[in-house]
Amino acid sequence: MATFSEHLRGRSDDELVRLLLRRPDLAHPSPATLASLAARATSRPSLERALAGVDAAVLQAVEAVVALLAGSTDPADGVRARDVVAAVGASRADGPAVRAALATATDLALVHPAGGRASDPLLRPAPGVAELLGPATAGLAAPAPHDPDAAAVPGLLAQAPAAGRAVLDALTWGPPVGVRPASGPAADAVTELVRAGLLVRADDRHVVLPRTVALALRDGRTHRAPATPPAPEDLPRRDPALVEAEHASAAERAVRLVAGLLRLWGQAPPVVLRAGGLGVRDLRRTAAALEITEAEAAFVVELAGVGALVRDDGEESAHHVPTTAADEWLALDLPDRWARLAAWWAATPRWAALVGTRDERGGVRPALGPELGRPWAPRLRQAVLGLLADAGPGAAPDAAAVREALAWRTPRSVPPADAVAAVLREAGWLGVLGAGALPAAGRALLDPDADPRPALAAGLGAALPPAVDDLLLQADLTGIVPGRPSQELEALLDASARVESRGGAVTVRFTPESVRDALDAGATADDLLADLASHARGGVPQPLEYLVRDAARRHGRLRAGAASSYVRTEDPALLAGLAEDPRHADLGLVRLAPTVLAAQAPLHELLSALRAHGLAPVAETPDGQVLHAAPTVRRVAAARPRFAPDEPGRGAQPPAERAAALVGVLRRAEEARAAGGSTGGAGAVVRPAAAEAAGAARADGTPTLRDRASGVAAATAAARAGRPGTGSPAGTRGGPRPSGGTADPAEALGLLREAAAGHTEVWLDVVGSRGALERRRVLPVRVDGGRVRVVDTARDAEIVVAAHRVAAVTPVGAPDADETPEPRETDTA
C-alpha cells in the first residue's frame, strides 16, 4: 500500500504539472517540499476548491470510491475502477466515461492509487475527502457496529412486511434518515422494520436505513445511474446571422443608453444618498427618461459606475456626475465604446441585479450603493459565457438549461437560478449575447487573463451592418433611414428630429420643437435643409421644408439674456448716458430700451454706484449678442478606475510554464531530502510555530525566529527542533524519533489526515498547557475544524488536541531518527 504523500512522490513530473495546473491554489504560494504539497492538497480549503471545480461524473466517481470504502478500516483496502463502474450502475457504453472520470479524479489527487497493479490500481480517496463529502456520502448511512450483517440482509428483506417495503424504497437512494410517523400503518411498518433490524432508531423521531441494508436494496450500487452531461443538441439554436445582428443592435443600444445617461446626468446630476448610491426616485426618473425599465436602468447606471464614467462629486451636497473619463469614452468609436462596457461588465464584482432588493436590515439596496459587490460575480459570468461557447454556435439555452449545465459542470457549487437568469439578462441587454446566443465578439470574454477589448471591438465591428447614408423624407414629417445610420447622419437626425422607432431601420419625426433644437444649436434653416437634402433620396418634401422655414421664421424673435439688476425710469432723459459712463463700466450696464437698463452688477453695487456718481453723459455700447444657451455640463476628475484593463495578463509567465518550473523545484527539494536521508538517516523535521513557542519557553533561549518563506531558514529551524531540549518532559525523550516526521503545521496536519484515512499510528508532539512538549503514540481519527481527534493507543483514550498545539508529527515505524539531522540546503522557490 502507498500513502497519499508516497503516491504524490511517486508521480511523474507531467502528472505533478497537471495537478498544479488543475489545482492552482496548490502552487500559490509555492510549496517548499512535496510533503508540504501533499499536506496542502489534503487540507480542507484546497479539497473544497478542487471538489467545487469537478463535474458531476468526477464527483460521482469520488463519492463512489468513498462510499465503497466507508465500511473498511484496513488501510490496504481500495477499490478498482471496475468496482466503481459497477457501483454507479454504468452500462457497458458508459464504462469509459466513468473510467475517464476516475482518471480525472486521480489527476486531481482526489483519489489516489494505494496498491495493486499500475494498470489497475486499488484506489483510495485522498485523506480528508470523505470528511468533506459528509457523513452520508451517496445517500448511504455511515457504517455502524450494530448494522445487520451484509450476508443476512437478503434473508431479512425477504421476510420484511409488505407495508415496510414502501418505507424502505423511500429511503433506498438516500438520504438514509427518515422521520418516524407518529401513528398509522406507516408507523407500524416502521416499528416492524426496526424490530427486524432493517431500520435503526436514530433518536426518538428518526430512523436510519443501515448501510448494509441500503446496499442490498441497491444491488450493491452506490448510485442509481451514472451522471451524464446534458445534451447540447437539445438546446434551441439560432441562426448565426440573427445572433450577430441582434448582438450588434443590442450593443449599439447599450452604448446609446450609457451615452444617454451621461447626457442626462451631465445636465441634471442626481443627488447621492447619505449612505451612498442613487435614490429610488432618481432611478425611476432616469429609467423614464431613457425609456427603459428600472431594472435595466439600474444595470446601465451600474455599468457607468463600474467604468468610472460617473461618480460622486464629493461636494457638500454630493451629486452623481459624469467624469472626465466619460468624455474620453464618448470620444471613442462605437465598437471601442462597447468593448469597454463589455469588459467592465465581465470583470466587475458588482452585481446590478441586487439593486432594489432589500438587505438584512430591510433597507433597499440602491444603485451605485456600497453593498453591491459580490466576489463570485465575474466567475459566474465567465462560467455562463463559457458554457454558451461550449454549447456550440447559435445555442441559446434558457436560464434553466444553463443552470442544469452548470449543475453538471460544478455540482458542488451550483449558482442560484436567479443569478444565472440575471447574467443572461444582463448579457442580453449589453449585447454580449444576441438572441440568447454567444456571438463571435462574446468569445473575447472567455479568457479572463487576456485584455478582451480589441477582440470585442473587432467582433462588434464585423457584426454591425454597413452604415447607410440615405434618408427617406416624407410628407407626414417623418424620415426613415433604411438601415444603420452613418455617424454623420445620426448626428444630423439627433440634432433635428425625434427618434420614433429603432431596429433594422431608424424612423424619426420632425416637429417644430426638434427643428427649434437644431436652430438653437446654431444651425440656420438653409444649412439644415441643405444637410437634409444632401442625404434625402427623394428630396425634401414641401411640408418639411415649410416646417423648417416656419420654425426659423419664429426662431429668435424673442431674445433673452442674463442680468443681475436693472434700472428703469419713466423719463428716458434720466437714463441717458448712464450705461455708457466709464465710471460705471464695472456695473456692466446694458440698455434694453430707452427707459430700461440692465446691469451685470448686483443690485447693491448698482445702487451705490448710482448714488455715488449721479447721472452721466450719453454714449452707445454694443450688445444684444445672441447667446446660444449651452446647458451647463458638470464634470469631476475621474476616480481610480475600478477595472484596470490596461495591464495585459496578470502573470508574466504562462501558468503551464510556471507549474513546470515549480515541479522542478519540488523535485530538487525531494532529492535533497533523499540525500539527507541517506547520510543522516533522518528526514526533514520542520518545526511549527507551537514547537517554536515551546522552544522559546525553554531556558536555553535559543533564538528561534524564522523566515517561513525561506527553505533554508526552515531547514535550520528543523535542525533546532531535532536538538534535545533541556528540561523537556520525559515524554519527549521517551519515544523514538523516526524519520518521515514533520513539524511544519500544514504538513503535520497532512500527515495526520493521511494517518486518519489509512488507520495508521503516529507519534504526536503536543505542546502541553504549561508550554512543555509531550509525545504520544496515537491513532488519528479525524482532523477537522482546527482540532485533531486521536486515540491514545497506550492509554486507550480518545483525546482532542487543538491543531495549533501540535508541534510535530512522525509516522510510527519510520526508521529511527533520534539524531539531530543535518541542516540541509534547500532551493527557495
Binding site: A245, S249, L473, G503, A505, Q542
Partner: protein, 564 residues
C-alpha cells in the same frame, strides 16, 4: 440579409418601402395581420398589435404563416423576441371557445385547462360564469356572453365565439341588380352590380359570422350592408348616427334591394316605426329618461336576425353595453377606420367581432372607385390687431378666435372664385362664422338648426347642380351623401380629430363622373392653436397617403396653379 422590402423594428412596427419591386406582394402578405398605421409616399408603417394578430387568427391565419411572411420579406434579421411574441400572442386566441352545449347551453370550453383555471380565478369573470362542468368547461349565463368576451379579451385570452347565432325571424330580402327600383331620370331601369370588393366584404363577413368591414368613405358601405341583408334574409336592425343618415339608408335600400318602403321603418326622435327592417339612430337608443333607456326595448322588439352598425367607430359607449346583450345575433360593423379617438378598439373587437374585411383607400382609389385628392393647407397670417386679441384671450376662447379669424373669409372668397362652377362645400364648426361666410359668398347654409326637409331640399338641389356652393356645419360630417362635391374648404374643425378629417375628406372622395381631381383646402390661422390642430389632422392625411402642401395665403393663387 435579403433584399426584401420590409424592415421589422423591435417595437413591432413594420416599415414597407413602397418603391420596392416586391412591395405589392409584401403588402398583400402582411395586410391580414398588421394594421396599417400610416401610408405616406415612401415608406408605409404597419404595426403588429395583439388585436391585429387575433383578427388574423380569426380569419384563419396561423402564427407560422405570419412568421414566415415576416422572414420572407424582411431585409434584416427579424428580432427573435418579436417572433416569439407573435407566436405567443396568436396562440392565445381560441384557447377558450364559447360553444353551444346540447345539455348545458352556452359553455365556455377551454382547449387548455390551465387557461380556464387562470381566467376563472380573475375578478373580471366573477359572476359571468356559472357551474363548472369539468376541468375544461364552465357554464356561461347566456346574457353575459358579450360581457364575458370583453372580460376575456382584457385578460388576454380572447375567446372564439362558436356558439352560433339565432336564425331570427325570416324575411325575404334580395339585391335588386336589375335596376327596376332604381329608375334613371329617363324612367329606364339602371342595372348595377356589386363592386368586387363589396362582394368580397359581404362574403368575408358572412363566413366569419360577425365582424367589422373597413372600407373608406365613398366606397359604398351601404351596399355591403344591403348585400349582407340579402345573405341573411331576416329581419334586420340598422343602427346609424343620425336621422339624415337614416333616410339615406332607407332610400338606398329601396333603390338597391327588393324591399319596399312599407317594409322599412325609421326609429328616430321624430318617428317610432318598427318594421321588418328598422333603421334606428344611436341618439334615440341612448336617450336616457329618469335613469332608464326608454327605447331600449327596440332591441328586443323583434327577433332580429342581423344587426348592422353604421360608422362603428362612433358607436357610443352605452350602445356597447347594450350590444353586449345581443351576442346571439349576427352583427355587422361598417366603418372607414378602426381608429377610435377613445381607444375602445378592443370593445369593437370583442362585442361586434373581428375585422372581416379591409381595403385601404389608396387601393380603391387606384381601382377608380374614389377620386384622387389634392390637399392644401392655406396659412393665413393674422393682422397685428387680431394677434394681440388672440394673445390676450382666455385659453378656452383661443381656438374659437383663431378658427373664426375674419381674414379667412377673404381666403375662402378667393378659393370660391378660383373654383367657380365646381360643386364646392365650405365646412366649419362655428355657426356665426358660417353664416357670415355664406352671406359673403352668397351661398345657402346648413346647420344643426336647419330643418330636415330644408336640408334634403338643399342637398337635392346641390346634387342636381342647381346650387354649386354650400356652406355646411358639423351636421354634414357624417353619412350624408354629397356626390360630385369636388372642392371642400374647411375653415374650422372640432379640435383636430382624426376620424373627422377622414369624414370630411370622404365627402369629396365619391367617384367623380369625369375623373376630376378633388381639392381639399384647410384654411388655418398661423401661429395659433388652429395651426396646431391642423397639423394633427394633416398628419393623418399624409399618413393616409394624400400629398398635401402648405401655402401662405398671400401666395395662394400662384401656389395652387400646379396641383402636386
Amino acid at each position: 440579409m435579403t433584399d426584401g422590402p420590409l424592415i421589422v423594428q423591435s417595437d413591432k412596427t413594420l416599415l414597407l418601402e413602397v418603391d420596392h419591386d416586391q412591395a405589392e406582394a409584401c403588402r398583400r402578405a402582411i395586410a391580414p395581420f398588421a394594421e396599417l398605421e400610416r401610408a405616406p409616399e415612401h415608406v408605409h408603417t404597419y404595426r403588429l398589435t395583439p388585436l391585429g394578430l387575433w383578427n388574423a387568427r380569426a380569419a384563419g391565419h396561423d402564427a407560422e404563416q405570419v412568421v414566415d411572411t415576416l422572414l420572407e420579406y424582411s431585409r434584416y434579421p427579424v428580432p427573435h423576441a418579436l417572433l416569439v411574441d407573435v407566436a405567443e400572442t396568436m396562440s392565445r386566441y381560441g384557447r377558450l371557445q364559447l360553444v353551444a352545449h346540447p345539455v348545458h347551453g352556452l359553455v365556455l370550453h377551454a382547449l387548455d385547462a390551465a387557461v380556464l383555471a387562470e381566467v376563472l380565478r380573475s375578478k373580471r369573470t366573477a359572476g359571468l360564469v356559472g357551474e363548472r362542468i369539468d376541468d375544461t368547461d364552465v357554464v356561461v349565463h347566456a346574457s353575459e356572453r358579450g360581457t364575458l368576451k370583453q372580460a376575456l379579451l382584457k385578460l388576454g385570452w380572447p375567446a372564439e365565439d362558436l356558439a352560433g347565432y339565432v336564425d331570427g325571424e325570416a324575411h325575404p330580402i334580395d339585391l335588386d341588380t336589375s335596376g327596376e327600383s332604381n329608375l334613371g331620370t329617363d324612367g329606364a331601369p339602371r342595372p348595377w352590380q356589386l363592386r368586387p370588393y363589396q362582394a368580397e366584404a359581404a362574403d368575408g363577413f358572412w363566413h366569419g359570422g360577425s365582424g367589422v368591414v373597413v372600407l373608406p368613405c365613398g366606397a359604398g358601405k351601404t351596399l355591403v350592408g344591403a348585400a349582407a341583408m340579402a345573405r341573411s334574409k331576416t329581419t334586420t336592425l340598422i343602427l346609424v348616427t343620425n336621422t339624415v343618415s337614416a333616410r339615406q339608408w332607407r332610400d338606398e335600400l329601396i333603390r338597391r334591394t327588393s324591399l319596399t318602403p312599407d317594409e322599412i321603418g325609421e326609429y328616430s326622435g321624430s318617428r317610432k316605426e318598427i318594421r321588418p327592417v328598422t333603421i334606428a339612430t344611436y341618439q334615440v337608443l341612448t336617450l336616457k329618461r329618469k335613469g332608464i333607456y326608454p327605447h331600449l326595448e327596440l332591441l328586443d322588439a323583434r327577433d332580429w336576425g342581423l344587426i348592422v352598425y353604421d360608422e362603428v367607430h362612433l358607436l357610443p359607449a352605452p350602445i356597447f353595453r347594450m350590444t353586449a346583450d345581443l351576442q346571439a345575433r349576427r352583427r355587422l360593423g361598417l366603418t372607414a377606420t378602426l381608429v377610435r379617438e377613445d381607444g375602445r378598439e378592443d370593445e369593437v373587437f370583442s362585442l361586434i367581432g373581428p375585422k372581416r374585411y379591409d381595403a385601404p383607400w389608396k387601393d380603391i382609389e387606384a381601382q377608380g372607385y374614389i377620386a384622387p385628392a389634392d390637399c392644401v393647407e392655406v396659412r393665413l397670417t393674422l393682422p397685428e390687431r387680431d394677434r394681440m386679441l388672440y394673445a390676450t384671450a382666455e385659453p378656452e376662447d383661443k381656438y374659437r378666435l383663431a378658427a373664426s379669424a375674419p381674414g379667412k373669409t377673404e381666403v375662402v372668397k378667393r378659393l370660391v372664385a378660383k373654383h367657380r362652377g365646381e360643386p364646392l362645400l365650405v365646412i366649419g364648426q362655428y355657426i356665426d362664422q358660417l353664416e357670415e361666410l355664406a352671406a359673403d359668398i352668397d351661398a345657402p347654409v346648413i346647420t344643426g338648426g336647419t330643418s330636415v326637409t330644408e336640408r334634403q331640399r338643399l342637398f337635392d338641389a346641390f346634387r342636381a347642380g342647381e346650387i354649386s356652393t354650400l356652406v355646411v356645419s358639423k351636421v354634414a360630417n357624417f353619412s350624408i351623401d354629397l356626390p360630385e362635391a369636388s372642392v371642400a374648404i374647411q375653415v374650422s374643425g372640432s379640435f383636430g380629430s382624426r376620424q373627422e378629417e377622414a369624414q370630411r375628406l370622404g365627402r369629396l372622395l365619391r367617384p367623380k363622373g369625369d375623373g376630376r381631381t378633388a381639392h381639399f383646402y384647410a384654411v388655418v390661422a398661423r401661429d395659433t392653436v388652429d395651426q396646431d390642430f391642423a397639423a394633427h389632422r394633416q398628419r393623418f392625411l399624409a399618413e393616409q397617403g394624400y400629398a398635401y402642401r402648405i401655402v401662405d395665403a398671400e401666395d395662394l393663387e400662384q401656389a395652387t396653379e400646379e396641383p402636386a
